[in-house]
Subunit: 127 residues, 6 copies
């Protein structure tokens, strides 16, 4: 099994309007440092998991809808909380769409939202 991980980041504003989230109910924001990991049982004909440039563009495309955005008014987040877990799932689903033609490539998204916590999401139903 081989894995390739590339990273990028976005800066977003949001609030988490439920008392469960304490002070994070207020409008605040985060730098989301995002890692996308692509896994594959065997390398392709160029001896790589995926071209790094291609992987980097896939991640950039997945993050573009989030760059410098307020997720509280973002059309893709209507009716759902933009927790870091949900954001990771959102990015993972975008990456999966971008790799719809290569279902044998597994996808994991990891988001570091602050120096003391990070989350990850493994896209299901891929090898």
């Amino acid at each position: 099994m081989f894995r390739l991980t590339v990273n990028d980041y976005v800066m977003i504003a949001h609030s988490l309007p439920h008392e469960f989230f304490g002070p994070a109910q207020q409008m605040h924001g985060a730098t989301l440092s995002v890692e996308a990991t692509f896994s594959r049982p065997e390398l392709d004909e160029h001896s790589v998991v995926l071209d790094i440039g291609h992987a980097t563009r896939l991640l950039n495309d997945a993050l573009t809808p989030l760059r410098y955005e307020n997720l509280d008014v973002h059309p893709d987040f209507v009716g759902r909380l933009s927790t870091t877990e949900v954001n990771a799932q959102y990015v993972g689903q975008k990456l999966a769409s971008g790799l719809a033609d290569l279902p044998e490539i597994g996808i994991i998204v990891t988001i570091h939202e602050n120096p003391r916590a990070h989350v990850s999401y493994t896209v299901p139903d891929r090898t």
Copy 2:
């Protein structure tokens, strides 16, 4: 699959009294930078793996018995070597006790004991 990782640290003294450990047989110490990873197939009703504050308190509670301690005279380490692997297992078991009511949450503990080595322990018999 979703994962949440939080981190904390403790500073401990100990020795590893068996010739196998060479100079580490002497009384010395370590800063243990500890990551606790919690995994879950689906998010809870608040769209998170676990509240970050809750996860951080669970880790703090698991580490409290070790803070500023000499493990050579620690009651929980009588009769066993406090290798980093054993320390990770100790923290993992404490976390598992703290999450006894949520057996579907997987637990991994990672300890960085120096810049050139780290260990991890996956708590068994959890989903």
Copy 3:
């Protein structure tokens, strides 16, 4: 010369409403990872620059007004842009107030706002 550095972080929302800032004119946010460095020509009577607990509380006190806040509506930022440089200056001035009785301690604040850029501010008129 001795230096002590402690770190903490805050998560804020803001916008930078001038065309100079391009897409950052929109409401977005950031995780600000903040380092406070205290310098001193000689150690104190306890052989430290400052008690780490004290230094950590000073930094926490300086950051508390910013935690989970939208700087666009923050009373301390009326009429000024909350660039990372200005934020570092803000934190530095708070730290200087907290150390008004110890003018021989120099203060530098460093803020990492994303993985590819950080800024720092040296408080003037201290030794």
Copy 4:
């Protein structure tokens, strides 16, 4: 399950002579920061996955053939592209040879080739 990870690095020159690789077709080089992860269901009689000194020597031995080398003229890379994925596989196979007597120890090699990408290889057919 327990894991031990140790790290080291090598500095190599190479080229990737296929148009697929764009500017990396030119003779260039890389610092490869390498992590070797060893996993084991249960600890050994010394309460460790592997002695850290032993693990470090295994990794050093696996990397020695690559240190300060031009992989374009390296006998072990004749007829194959020295992509980071292939380099990870090369190191993994060397580690597996060094641990031929301990097949229950799993092996993963991770290589960071630049601040924005890393790859990993899991040696197959080990527990």
Copy 5:
């Protein structure tokens, strides 16, 4: 005093053909992780040291001549050893040319060439 630091990287091949350098006399390579620090006594009219985009482009322009290059045959390195110190000086001089119109901005270049060593160069004769 305010400082802004941005980072980027290049991957180069080279050799250091003098017995002083031991095994580094051979053709090998390195990933150079480069930080450019810009300092200024007071902020500009936009409350920044320099626009981050501008700073990033300045660093990119300074690094472009080095990307994927073999410094042994690079016209800018004829007759001089491409030690990391010399490379830092090279980048610093390029940055100074790019900021010839802003001599009050100080410049420091830091290059991490492997996980266990880095160098820096302060451009002289700037404020």
Copy 6:
């Protein structure tokens, strides 16, 4: 001005027996990640600040007396508290002795004792 920084680490036990230090009065320990920075106005005849191998050996020699030691009973720490600041000074003085023949080389020692604090010491009376 040029700087070269190399790093290494030691693992020590100690206590800080004064009520000022709270729980750190107990016997505990630390991993000290140590950076030694050497500065020089101009490069030497080999276009470096110092040979990296030489710098690494100087740091190793300075740290050897501390490796796997209990500083409470260490002959070099009789009558003084082994705070991280004092430890940095200790290492700095050892490095200065090792470079007695090169007084134009400045020396700074930085010690990271945990993920949330580090200290540094600049050796005085060197250029």
